[in-house]
């Protein structure tokens, strides 16, 4: 039978506030256990929550970015369940009146087309703490530093039809929240996590099949792999005439398989009700418009502009616009060089290779956008040739020079990379090269006319070795002239 895959994602994104959603404790990552868990986060008797204005602003910003309805009245509910990393025995979340209603984003498919994925809703809630299971002599240790960190949970419609689409959607959401500056997007620290709802149905059938939920997948690659693994598992069962059990599963990346979560065996009855310690959050059009005015250019708009105004290919534009810091870097370089295509080639080429090799983000790259911009300027005014430019770039990568654009010029000087374009000087060097290599000249002269273009190569190499920074075009012209004079 031919099966259709149905996927919906729930993405949790930690909001990049300084303090927690309902308390004044820090949200900074990596502190010692429970040193950033205040009385409110610990759920001590008698404590009360007060809502963080920045968490609200960020959630509204997100809603506007995905063209969603903004909830002018949103209400916090208590979701009741017992778990040691949930100090109050309930999670404060939004059930019936979320801050963000129906919206949508577009994802790019492999065939170059785009697909619209609708977002059902996005709501504000508090993160839970963490349980550590190793190192406590058979006990679990509870760290509540993360408890109370603001989250938005972004719920998609079940509109994705492959693991690739799901990964593209997750990437796009990552791109949007980092563009907005509302989430640091650091997947390795759990700043964004994804629950994947996966089901299969016979192609053509309208009714959904039974779904499973893969919890807490935390990388782009694993979203794709986990879903692929789950699709394969479900398909095996269905093809054998079995049926899928609705359950929560975990993805084991080492084994590349999903397994049922034991702690979620008992169906929970969450007993939602409006939190009586918090009141309805009311915002008006003025508030919404004020937030709208702070929206940056978003990835789709930026990509379109790169293509339309600057002639980049759609593929280049998509890659460069996908990440805000990369896009910002690229545009700074492009402005300085006054050449978007040249900047695109460099950012996609040497810069991207360096990032991969060093396993760092663009923010950690030792070559600043201003410096790369200066390098490209020097290429464009013929001060540097391509080889010289790479040499300067690599020198900066190795930490030479300071972080100013002026240090590029200093490096060009100290490394002797300034390109020589003076024909007289080059003629003298070429004459010397020819005089030093009579056998090579003889060989050249015995080469048939139509193969001489290739045979000229060794002379170019020797000339450039004799004098760094000579303009290759001028060298070629002089060589051709001198050699033709000889034969």
């Amino acid at each position: 039978m031919e099966w259709e895959v149905v996927i919906g994602l729930e993405i949790h994104a930690q909001l990049a506030t300084q303090s927690k959603i309902f308390s004044g404790a820090s949200t900074a990552y990596g502190a010692d256990a429970n040193t950033q868990a205040c009385a409110v986060d610990l759920g001590l008797p008698g404590v009360l929550p007060v809502f963080n204005e920045e968490a609200l602003r960020m959630a509204v910003k997100f809603g506007l970015a995905i063209d969603a309805e903004i909830g002018k009245k949103s209400v916090f509910d208590r979701k009741n369940y017992f778990y040691p990393d949930l100090p109050k025995g309930y999670q404060t979340t939004q059930l019936h009146h979320p801050i963000v209603g129906i919206g949508h984003i577009d994802i790019e498919l492999d065939d170059g087309t785009t697909k619209r994925i609708n977002v059902t809703r996005a709501h504000l809630e508090e993160d839970a703490g963490k349980s550590v299971h190793e190192g406590f002599d058979g006990m679990s240790g509870i760290d509540l530093n993360r408890a109370g960190t603001p989250l938005i949970e972004i719920v998609s419609e079940p509109e994705m039809r492959s693991a690739k689409e799901a990964a593209a959607y997750f990437r796009k959401m990552h791109s949007i929240v980092t563009y907005l500056g509302i989430c640091d997007g650091d997947l390795s620290q759990g700043s964004m996590r994804c629950d994947c709802n996966v089901s299969l149905r016979p192609k053509g059938q309208e009714e959904f099949g039974t779904r499973t939920e893969i919890k807490n997948v935390n990388s782009f690659r694993n979203v794709e792999r986990a879903i692929e693994a789950e699709i394969a598992r479900q398909m095996d069962i269905l093809e054998d005439g079995g049926s899928i059990v609705q359950e929560t599963r975990l993805y084991d990346a080492d084994k590349n398989e999903t397994r049922a979560m034991r702690s979620k065996e008992v169906a929970n009855d969450y007993r939602y009700f409006p939190c009586p310690d918090l009141l309805p959050v009311i915002i008006d059009d003025n508030y919404i418009e004020a937030v709208r005015s702070t929206l940056p250019e978003l990835p789709d708009a930026k990509r379109a502009r790169f293509v339309k105004d600057h002639g980049l290919s759609t593929v280049d534009a998509a890659v460069l616009a996908s990440d805000r810091s990369l896009a910002d870097y690229f545009e700074t370089v492009a402005h300085a060089a006054n050449d978007y295509k040249l900047a695109a080639n460099w950012v996609q080429g040497d810069v991207s290779a360096a990032l991969n090799r060093l396993e760092i983000g663009i923010a950690q790259l030792p070559v600043s956008a201003e410096q790369l911009g200066r390098i490209l300027q020097l290429i464009k005014d013929n001060t540097l040739n391509n080889g010289g430019a790479k040499e300067v770039f690599n020198a900066l990568l190795e930490g030479k020079g300071d972080d100013t654009a002026a240090s590029v010029d200093a490096l060009v000087d100290s490394l002797g990379l300034k390109q020589v374009s003076d024909t007289g000087a080059i003629e003298a060097i070429v004459a010397q090269v020819l005089a030093d290599n009579p056998k090579l000249v003889e060989g050249y002269l015995n080469t048939p006319e139509d193969k001489r273009a290739k045979a000229i190569g060794p002379f170019i190499g020797l000339t450039r070795k004799a004098a760094k920074g000579v303009n290759p075009q001028v060298v070629m012209d002089v060589l051709k002239k001198k050699l033709s004079e000889l034969g």
């Binding site: 303090s19 004044g24 256990a33 429970n34 006990m139 679990s140 240790g141 760290d143 009141l279």
Partner: protein, 95 residues
Amino acid sequence: MALDQNQVRDIAELARLQIDETQLDDYQKNLSNILDLVDQLAAADTANVEPLAHPLDAVQRLRADQVSESNQREHFQQIAPATSEGYYLVPRVVE
């Protein structure tokens, strides 16, 4: 509404309350009586009545996004049943 003993057990489980089997009768009777009392609500005509969240219909105030709390772990953990290296300890949790 009358509850049977299984329902009482289920509710106790939901609320994570150990109930002594010998007290089950008592709970069953008393909870059923309380539910009879509150079932009088059903007769009230509440069509189009907005639920009351705050007696004065106040709305949520917002707090500035500032870190105002400092580390008080030692102070807070003095009253904890079991801790180690700054963590609260519980019987091992299986995920």
